[in-house]
């Protein structure tokens, strides 16, 4: 039957699809590397003929080897590549801990206004009052939503924000004349937390969770000493649970003279519901590319502003915007301020392009819309949990989760199907897999974060697909899983070979005669 319901003639289908001569499969077209198709004498950009002259001091370059493509060739190359990618716009992208929410195109339009996209960081400040206003306004919103008095905007991603927050903590301790050497990190933390602490010379002590997947303040107290600089706690944590004893943990940490760093990766669950500042947080990074919808772009760019408590605010890195009797000003040097900035995170002033997009998101939602988004994100995750808990195993019992739900692989025991196989089979069903094997505290973790961007109909289809797969796995339909994905642009890729014999760039193939020798 066709879409209008009129009967159509069935076609005698081939039982096996033929291999095509080209390797292409309909809309899926194989694409070479530009180094195989481009030529160094071809260009897709017209540039005027320059007058010859030189002040290069005998440093003129010989050949480079860069291929060029004409504009139509280039456009086609990148369009074909794009079609080998799955994005949020393609379908459900339930990647736990990453908050793959809808990216409104209005944000893109706003970021491209010439007054934002086409201004230079070192133009005279008098020519960019709107830029300073936008930064001040974003700061106000972030401070209000977190209940914290200050924000450092320059960090360029979440991990960079962690570094910034921990540097502020280190600077505050130094200012007190203290040199502490330990940072506490729960076992369920993102890998960036221990990596950040280690980068600053701290020894990382792991804090195990209790049976229910959360941190016990009594356990924290066992680890606390005058040598502990900070605890780095993600809340809600990576198991999708709110650390309900967070206030007791914060109190214990503060009583020991240490600071409370919060990893804000999961802020999307609680925006407008509770303010981290009210829970005793001293520093928290916010991933604008998660919570505030700036696009992930295949792995960046992000932005990781850090909100700071009154205790840490004086140490915020340069630059920052102040609003005093002279109006809005950008403070770029320690010599221009009474505060004690610990230094500079990067050149210029941070990810302005992301600030605009995040601001556009916030203005669109407003206080009411942001709270609704958090509630919907949590509702969606619990709906998935409730619909799958009879088939798949929950490591910490069947209780409410926050904006993501964590399953382990106990339910697959004896089936011959691994978490990885299950994830690859989801690809065949048209879904991006959930986060797998993270957090490390549960075996074969599957972390599902639907976000508020999914409607009920979409979730119902997603749930139905997961239930079908789960039942197939339990039935012993292993070929469906072990060979998956069958329908992606590539079958399963050999990652071991990539690591053992690294090929990290294109090189000119040896002529056959040489290769034979």
């Amino acid at each position: 039957m066709n879409r209008q319901g009129r009967p159509t003639e069935p076609v005698q289908a081939l039982s096996v699809a033929p291999e095509t001569f080209t390797g292409n499969r309909g809309l899926r077209i194989e694409e070479a590397l530009i180094f195989e198709t481009g030529r160094t004498d071809v260009t897709g950009v017209d540039v005027e003929e320059p007058k010859r002259a030189s002040r290069l001091g005998n440093l003129e370059r010989k050949e480079i080897g860069l291929p060029g493509l004409s504009e139509p060739e280039a456009v086609r190359h990148y369009v074909r590549l794009s079609r080998m990618n799955y994005g949020i716009d393609s379908g459900v992208f339930p990647l736990g801990s990453c908050t793959m929410k809808h990216n409104p195109r209005l944000n893109e339009k706003m970021a491209r206004l010439p007054g934002f996209g086409d201004i230079h960081p070192l133009q005279p400040q008098s020519t960019v009052p709107g830029a300073l206003e936008l930064i001040a306004e974003l700061s106000r919103w972030l401070c209000e939503l977190t209940g914290m008095p200050a924000v450092a905007l320059s960090p360029k991603a979440g991990a960079h924000g962690e570094l910034c927050g921990m540097m502020a903590i280190k600077a505050a301790l130094t200012a007190r004349g203290e040199k502490r050497s330990v940072v506490l990190v729960p076992e369920s933390a993102h890998g960036t937390n221990p990596a950040t602490a280690a980068l600053l010379g701290y020894r990382v002590e792991a804090v195990p969770a209790r049976e229910d997947g959360t941190v016990d303040p009594e356990e924290v107290k066992k680890h606390l000493s005058p040598d502990v600089a900070a605890i780095m706690l993600t809340n809600p944590n990576t198991c999708g649970l709110f650390e309900r004893d967070v206030v007791a943990i914060a109190d214990a940490v503060h009583a020991a003279g240490a600071y409370f760093y919060a990893d804000g990766a999961n802020f999307n669950a609680i925006v407008g519901k509770v303010r981290p500042g009210d829970l005793g947080v001293d520093a928290m990074h916010i991933n604008l590319h998660k919570t505030f919808s700036t696009p992930h772009g295949g792995g960046g760019p992000g932005a990781g502003p850090v909100t700071l408590s009154a205790a840490l605010a004086p140490f915020a890195p340069l630059p920052y915007v102040v609003n005093d009797k002279d109006g809005l000003r950008l403070i770029e040097h320690a010599s221009d301020t009474q505060r004690k900035p610990f230094g500079r995170m990067c050149a210029f002033h941070g990810q302005m392009g992301m600030f605009v997009r995040a601001m556009s998101y916030m203005l669109a939602h407003g206080a009411d819309g942001m709270r609704q988004a958090s509630e919907d994100a949590v509702l969606n995750a619990n709906y998935v949990r409730a619909a799958l808990s009879d088939l798949m195993s929950l490591p910490f019992g069947d209780r409410p989760c926050m904006h993501e739900v964590l399953f382990d692989d106990r339910w697959l025991e004896g089936s011959g199907v691994s978490t990885l196989d299950f994830a690859k089979a989801m690809i065949d069903e048209g879904y991006h897999p959930m986060t797998m094997y993270f957090p490390l505290v549960v075996h074969g973790a599957m972390l599902i974060e639907p976000t508020e961007s999914e409607g009920k109909a979409s979730l119902d289809l997603f749930i139905a697909a997961l239930r079908d797969l789960a039942m197939a796995a339990k039935r012993g339909d292993t070929a469906r899983f072990s060979g998956a994905p069958y329908y992606a642009p590539r079958r399963r890729l050999d990652e071991t070979r990539a690591a053992r014999q690294p090929v990290l760039r294109w090189t000119r193939p040896m002529p056959q005669k040489e290769a034979a020798e």
Binding site: V42, V75, Y78, H296, R344, G353
Partner: protein, 448 residues
């Protein structure tokens, strides 16, 4: 709210299915006394028209680079980006995808990262490059840490003409991780004694070329001296278009090359997001920070790409990782790679020549203004002039006349009185004869 698909009916139905009375039951783990009783003190939801009006009003207060004769550089440059670049990076599948952890459905991203890595390696004259850092300054700080890991030493030597923001970024990261930094004083005329400062404790020498004042440097003698002392040479390039015309650091003995790739494919954006370039010798690849795409095959033997050598990275090694970097500059990397594919070697070389030629013309015109001295004997597209009086005031007066004439050196380095009369001036392919004439005339007026 237009971005939220759930209806009130959906919500009730779902709560019932979950088996709770209301939404607050799902937030029960949050201490009741801490939950917000009312909405945050912020405006309520706005329509698309209202958002455009609000942000358009704020953006309208800024003077866009493209609207005036524009000569501001110092690590961020106003170049032309072909229309197809911005169109292609906004393809849904690029814009709204994630880090390619599921390679079978992320071949688009992995394929272009592999091409990007090759382009960067060719451009810098190095053997391997990673899939990007946040920007040039953070790449430089990471390169210094990498040199410490390789040499097992703890002291970095920074050339005086390294961009001051880069210097401060390195000093901040190094200071916080208990490594020493020796920064030489600036040399606005370009001649500084780096060789004399290299000793047996030096882990790495960091030299920028073209440097912040625009001078070009032959790195060979520095590389030789550094290697003899057991140190590495880190070369920094903040104007990557220069590599279309100038001998690359990789051909002059650099061990690590880092840089800012904003000039190719990316707009100014008030300083970010940009794209950090990071290239090194192959033998050091396992000490490299950041992501790497590598070639492999799939189960049918077809060529494909994956993220590889992940055992260097935080999500695998946690506190033993080479860096804590996770998200990088994915989409800016794509813009860079598309623009460079369009340019190709022929286009890049010509673009570089036009930049150089425009800088020569401008230097000649400004140098002829009474009260102006040109500080450079070599430069690519950026040079420094000494003016009578306070350079920051001159720049303000030029701005009042509708000319954005460059960066006063004091804005980057305010504590050195000897820099108060210097302006760093950048020329690109965007400047016309009229722009240059307007600048020279205005400067003549301001200095008269």
């Amino acid at each position: 709210m237009r971005y939220l698909p759930l209806t009130p009916e959906d919500r009730s139905e779902m709560l019932a299915r979950i088996g709770v009375a209301g939404i607050d039951a799902l937030f029960a783990d949050i201490p009741a006394g801490k939950r917000l009783k009312s909405l945050p003190d912020l405006p309520l939801t706005k329509s698309e028209i209202e958002v455009e009006r609000t942000l358009g009003g704020i953006a309208g207060k800024n003077i866009a680079a493209g609207s005036v004769p524009f000569f501001v550089g110092c690590g961020a440059y106003k170049h032309h980006v072909p229309a197809s670049v911005d169109h292609l990076i906004q393809r849904s599948e690029f814009l709204t995808s994630y880090t390619p952890y599921q390679p079978e459905i992320a071949q688009g991203t992995l394929h272009y990262l592999f091409e990007f890595q090759t382009q960067v390696a060719l451009l810098t004259g190095m053997e391997v490059a990673n899939a990007s850092m946040y920007d040039g300054s953070t790449a430089t700080a990471e390169a210094v840490l990498m040199a410490h890991r390789i040499t097992k030493r703890k002291k970095a030597l920074l050339a005086g003409n390294l961009h001051p923001h880069y210097r401060e970024t390195v000093e901040t990261v190094s200071g916080m991780s208990d490594h020493a930094v020796v920064a030489l004083p600036p040399a606005p005329r370009g001649a500084e004694d780096i060789l004399g400062a290299i000793d047996k404790e030096t882990s790495c020498v960091v030299v920028q070329t073209p440097d912040v004042y625009g001078h070009l440097h032959d790195l060979r003698p520095i590389a030789e001296k550094a290697h003899a002392a057991g140190a590495l040479l880190i070369a920094v390039v903040t104007e990557v278009v220069s590599l279309g015309l100038v001998t690359p650091p990789g051909e002059m003995g650099a061990d690590i090359v880092v840089g800012e790739g904003q000039s190719i494919g990316n707009g100014l954006n008030f300083g970010g997001p940009y794209v950090g370039l990071f290239a090194s010798r192959l033998k050091h690849v396992r000490q490299m920070p950041g992501r790497l795409a590598g070639e492999t095959v799939d189960a049918e033997g077809k060529r494909g790409f994956v993220l590889t050598l992940s055992t260097r990275e935080q999500h695998i090694r946690r506190e033993k990782a080479t860096s804590n970097i996770c998200t990088n500059s994915g989409l800016c990397t794509l813009a860079f790679s598309i623009h460079l594919s369009l340019l190709g070697e022929a286009g890049l070389r010509r673009l570089a020549q036009v930049n150089h030629a425009n800088a020569l013309l401008l230097a000649e015109m400004l140098g002829a203004v009474p009260g102006v001295d040109l500080m450079n004997s070599t430069f690519f597209n950026e040079f420094t002039i000494r003016v009578r009086g306070d350079a920051a005031e001159v720049i303000e007066k030029l701005a009042a006349r509708g000319i954005l004439g460059g960066v006063p050196a004091s804005r980057l380095d305010p504590m050195r009185p000897e820099l108060r009369d210097l302006i760093i001036v950048a020329a690109t392919e965007m400047n016309t004869d009229d722009d240059r004439a307007a600048y020279a005339d205005a400067l003549k007026e301001v200095l008269a």
